[in-house]
């Protein structure tokens, strides 16, 4: 196994080399190439000033040299083993320990390492929050669909998942921002960024005006939670559906009232119907676990809303809540696509394995259907999910680009777009390197996870 790890890690190097070479070649081959003129064009400088600026850039960044030399320069910079670079830009002696220097960004004038260090954590935060959400929800939905194979949930969920997968991330993001985070419609969420400036000075947890407010909040949430959970889990069908239908209609009406006042109009009716349908759909989901998972956050939200309406006051939302509040929409926008894809994959994989020979042997032994599903089939069905997880990280990184642009989050994705628009050579190459590294590391992790999960696979 160690041999295999070593081999894979060593093989990463030529691939990274290839990736950066391709990106560099694209930049160099473009009209205008990687010369200093693209940096100074457009500034209204007199000829001497322009010449001085060009000389400065050329000396600093080596932009007057031919493309292959520029690439080699950059390679030398990023490699920990190589020629040292002196402060004025000339090459020094060979050293085995000179450290990695990603260069300085043309546009920002700051070291690239600092820029990436600032922005990468945010992107990673978004993505790492998405991954468990995606996997957890996908497995839950996939299992339920496979269990009721051919039934209503299966067919309906298949269609819904395919539709979800087809919604482009930018459309979802735009709709989210437009409807749920803007002045004109419901202002439930903030318009962008990862946190408010004030939140940085606040306490971690929310701070209430008084003890009675806390009590009120808890009471409201407990009440709503209790009622809804009972309705979702225990109540018979005949009770559950009307309750949720009514709740949905009320919520829809309330949303419309928020915009247009209490007088009933077309919007009120439409939203009430939509709300009622959605919640009735939840009520009729087969599978208690699924219903519960959806009902609990709903109940907490409704309870909190109820408490606020009854007069409980927050002095401060607190840092944690502020962060969560800002991240809800971007994370949803980032994850729903992967969720849809993985849920369908889970379902297909489960169905294949449920019909497999070894499942038949298990049934012949007297194992009941639930145990066959969870003990025998489930682990085998996870294997394709692990394989796919290798491509999940790159696709999430790509999705980040769009989501960060829409929600004005200063992450790596946004940085990448800016770097490319500004033709910032150092930044572009470094971002390529970092994302390439992350992607390859993701592949390697997925392979290792697969080897751990499947005893048939052993790397020698």
């Amino acid at each position: 196994m160690l041999n295999y790890l070593l081999r894979r890690t060593l093989l990463m190097i030529p691939t990274l080399f290839g990736i950066t070479l391709v990106v560099f070649a694209v930049m160099a081959a473009s009209p205008g190439g990687l010369t200093v003129s693209t940096l100074v064009d457009g500034m209204n400088l007199d000829p001497e000033g322009r010449q001085a600026l060009e000389d400065y850039y050329n000396r600093r960044y080596g932009l007057d040299q031919p493309a292959p030399v520029q690439y080699l320069r950059w390679l030398n910079n990023i490699s920990p083993i190589g020629f040292e670079r002196q402060a004025d830009g000339t090459l020094g002696g060979f050293s085995l320990w000179k450290g990695v220097d990603l260069g300085t960004s043309f546009r920002y004038g700051r070291p690239v390492t600092a820029l990436i260090a600032e922005r990468l954590p945010i992107t990673l935060l978004l993505n790492l929050l998405s991954i468990p959400l995606v996997y957890g929800a996908a497995i839950a939905i996939g299992v339920q669909a496979a269990r009721s194979h051919g039934g209503r949930f299966d067919v309906a969920s298949n269609l819904v998942l395919l539709a979800l997968w087809s919604v482009p991330t930018m459309l979802a993001g735009v709709l989210f921002i437009g409807f749920f985070a803007s002045e004109q419609y419901w202002r439930w969420f903030p318009t962008g960024g990862v946190g408010r400036r004030e939140a940085l000075d606040q306490t971690w947890l929310p701070w209430f005006a008084g003890f009675s407010d806390v009590l009120l909040l808890m009471a409201a949430v407990a009440l709503v939670l209790g009622v809804l959970v009972w309705a979702a889990v225990r109540a018979p069908d005949a009770v559950r559906c009307p309750v949720f239908l009514l709740l949905g209609a009320l919520l829809g009406y309330g949303m419309a009232a928020d915009l247009q006042g209490l007088v009933p109009g077309i919007l009120h009716v439409v939203l009430a119907v939509i709300g009622a349908t959605l919640l009735a759909g939840i009520a009729r989901l087969p599978g208690t676990a699924l219903r519960l998972a959806l009902v609990v956050p709903l109940a907490i939200g409704v309870g909190t809303g109820l408490a606020r309406w009854a007069g409980a006051e927050f002095i401060q939302g607190g840092y944690l809540l502020d962060r969560v509040w800002h991240l809800v929409l971007p994370v949803i926008a980032l994850s729903y696509g992967g969720l849809a894809f993985l849920a369908k994959l889970t379902r297909t994989s489960l169905l294949e394995n449920l019909a497999a020979d070894y499942a038949r042997t298990a049934r012949a032994k007297g194992v009941d259907e639930e145990t066959v599903l969870w003990r025998h089939v489930f682990r085998n069905s996870l294997l394709p999910l692990i394989t796919v997880s290798a491509t999940l990280l790159p696709s999430l990184l790509a999705g980040s680009v769009i989501v960060e642009s829409i929600f004005s989050i200063n992450g790596m994705g946004k940085l990448a777009v800016e770097a490319v628009q500004m033709r910032d050579r150092e930044l572009v190459l470094s971002i390529t390197l970092v994302s390439g590294l992350l992607t390859l590391a993701g592949y390697l992790l997925a392979d290792i996870a697969y080897a751990m999960a499947d005893p048939r696979v052993s790397y020698e």
């Binding site: 041999n3 020979d357 042997t361 007297g366 020698e460």
Partner: protein, 554 residues
């Protein structure tokens, strides 16, 4: 005393257009301590019957419009068709157990075999604690003669061979000492020697426990070895049943008679091959059509970080063999002995590491692709799997015409079409097959078309790689007769790879036994079969279940 009684069982399966009646009014019974064999060709409904008994048909895609299946416990009985799922689950594994055909896929690959054995005990014997269960598991492995059970118990299934996996399946089935064991072709996918051991094992376990065994098979040799009573199924109906000796010696029903007559060991050898010994002598001086000398094919094994070659898999290790015109040489051996690799190597479909292959006097071992191309006319091949032997996208005409065009046979396409039609006639296929696609034909028909494709270039030598192994006995008989006729009429040389001794007896003039890449024995078929010189050949021949040879057991 009754154990299992199937009474007028009707099972219908959901097909593409409506319900198919897979089992039609089948009635038989199995007594404790008795082995009942259900025999039939593919599509006869024997597997569906066994799955109906266990209730393992795919949910929602079957129904039982009539009949009953009663499992007895002393005087009381339970109708399995009417039992609810909880009751059935309790019965499975405890009172009735089943083992399946494919040992490779029938065990869960991610659980250890100890785990899987332990599970049966956990479900049906909740009284046992963890140590008692572990002991019982080890005992079970010991009973099925798995060597070193304490080490094996923590192994994953992929580490075991096919025969060992089947033993584990048997252990799993019998660990709770059920009264009824249903075995659905458990040895079909195994080598002949392994099959013999597994059959012996099942017999012994049955004797020691007094189990009733319902054994599904298509092999009459197996029936002869282990059955007390036999039922013959055809297209969902039970056409004949009775004591094994009676049914096998004096079959009453026309279908049973035709099945037994179609067994290769019962086929008549006609024509010139009847006068075999004299002709064989005179042929000994004839120039061999195909001559193999010290053929070696080694595959390298790579290990380590730099993928260095550390060793070789010796697939073919110095084989010498001759095939003369008008003669069929049978190449027999168990799986993994290298016979298929040998076949592909001599056709130059596989690279040769060392040795020579001489075709009609010319050394073709090292010829370039271009030089080899015209010679390819002289040697052709028919493969095993009817599903992939013909290009699914081309109509038969295309498949037959293209080789003729490439090698310049026939002046124009209409003449080639005529030749193709004549060829179809020779392989006993209707002329309008030319316009059809492979998926419209059955397996046996496809093999005939594959033979036609092999004949279209008028070769002198044909390699047949287990071409009838995937076919039913009656279909196989037709193809074997066709092959013998072709060889006799055209004086072709044929190398026939097989593992079925009955086929060897009928079809071949000479035979060679292969083991681990080497030929261990070779000679005239009659001689080798009657008086094998080598130990291995003797073991191999003894392991083959014969209808007429071994009498009924117990």
């Amino acid at each position: 005393m009754k154990l299992l009684e199937v009474d007028g069982l009707i099972t219908e399966l959901a097909g593409g257009e409506g319900w198919l009646r897979a089992v039609d009014n089948v009635s038989f019974s199995v007594a404790p301590g008795e082995t009942f064999c259900l025999v039939g060709e593919s599509g006869s409904g024997k597997s569906v019957t066994s799955l109906s008994i266990m209730g393992l048909l795919p949910p929602g895609r079957f129904r039982h419009p009539g009949g009953a299946i009663r499992l007895y416990d002393g005087e009381q009985s339970v109708d399995l068709l009417k039992a609810d799922s909880a009751a059935l689950t309790a019965l499975r594994g405890e009172r009735m157990a089943m083992i399946f055909q494919e040992p490779m896929t029938s065990l869960n690959p991610v659980l250890t075999i100890g785990d899987q054995l332990d599970e049966v005990l956990r479900i049906h014997q909740p009284g046992m604690d963890i140590n008692e269960r572990a002991e019982r598991v080890l005992m079970a492995l010991h009973e099925v003669q798995i060597p070193r059970p304490t080490e094996r118990v923590n192994d994953f299934p992929h580490r075991l061979s096919g025969g060992q996996r089947q033993r584990v399946m048997i252990a799993m089935a019998l660990i709770c000492e059920p009264a009824l064991l249903i075995a659905d072709e458990p040895t079909t996918a195994l080598d002949v020697t392994v099959q013999a051991e597994i059959l012996k094992l099942i017999r012994e376990l049955q004797a020691s426990r007094g189990m009733g065994v319902l054994f599904i098979t298509h092999d009459f040799g197996v029936v002869a070895q282990i059955a007390d009573r036999v039922g013959v199924m055809r297209r969902g109906e039970l056409v004949e049943q009775g004591a094994a000796s009676a049914v096998l010696r004096q079959p009453q029903h026309v279908y049973t008679r035709s099945l037994i007559a179609a067994l290769p060991e019962h086929l008549e050898r006609g024509g010139r091959s009847a006068a075999e010994p004299e002709l064989a002598a005179s042929e000994a001086e004839a120039v061999p059509l195909l001559s193999i000398r010290d053929l070696t094919v080694h595959f390298p094994i790579h290990r380590g970080v730099m993928r260095r070659v550390v060793d070789h898999v010796r697939a073919v290790d110095g084989v010498s063999l001759d095939v003369r015109p008008g003669e069929v040489v049978a190449l027999v051996g168990e799986s993994g002995c290298g016979k298929s690799t040998l076949g592909r190597a001599l056709l130059r479909l596989q690279d040769v590491t060392a040795g020579t292959v001489t075709l009609e006097g010319r050394d073709i071992t090292a010829l370039s692709r271009r030089a080899l191309q015209p010679l390819r006319r002289r040697m052709q091949v028919v493969f095993q799997d009817p599903g992939s032997s013909l290009n699914p996208r081309l109509p038969i005409l295309g498949t037959l015409l293209e080789p003729m065009r490439v090698h310049g046979i026939g002046a124009d396409d209409s003449e080639r079409r005529q030749r193709a039609e004549q060829l179809l006639e020779r392989v006993e296929m209707p002329a309008d097959s030319l316009w059809r696609y492979p998926h419209e034909f059955s397996g046996g028909q496809r093999q005939r078309l594959a033979i036609a494709r092999a004949l279209v270039l008028e070769p002198r030598f044909i390699l047949c790689d287990e071409i009838t192994s995937a076919l039913d006995v009656s279909v196989q008989a037709g193809i074997l007769r066709l092959l013998r006729r072709l060889v006799d009429d055209d004086r072709l040389g044929m190398l026939f790879i097989t593992h079925n001794m009955g086929v060897v007896e009928f079809l071949s003039d000479r035979m060679a036994v292969m083991r681990q890449g080497r030929i261990v024995e070779e000679g005239l078929t009659k001689q080798v079969l009657e008086a094998p010189a080598e130990e291995y050949t003797r073991t191999l021949l003894a392991a083959v279940p014969r209808m007429d040879g071994a009498l009924l057991s117990s």
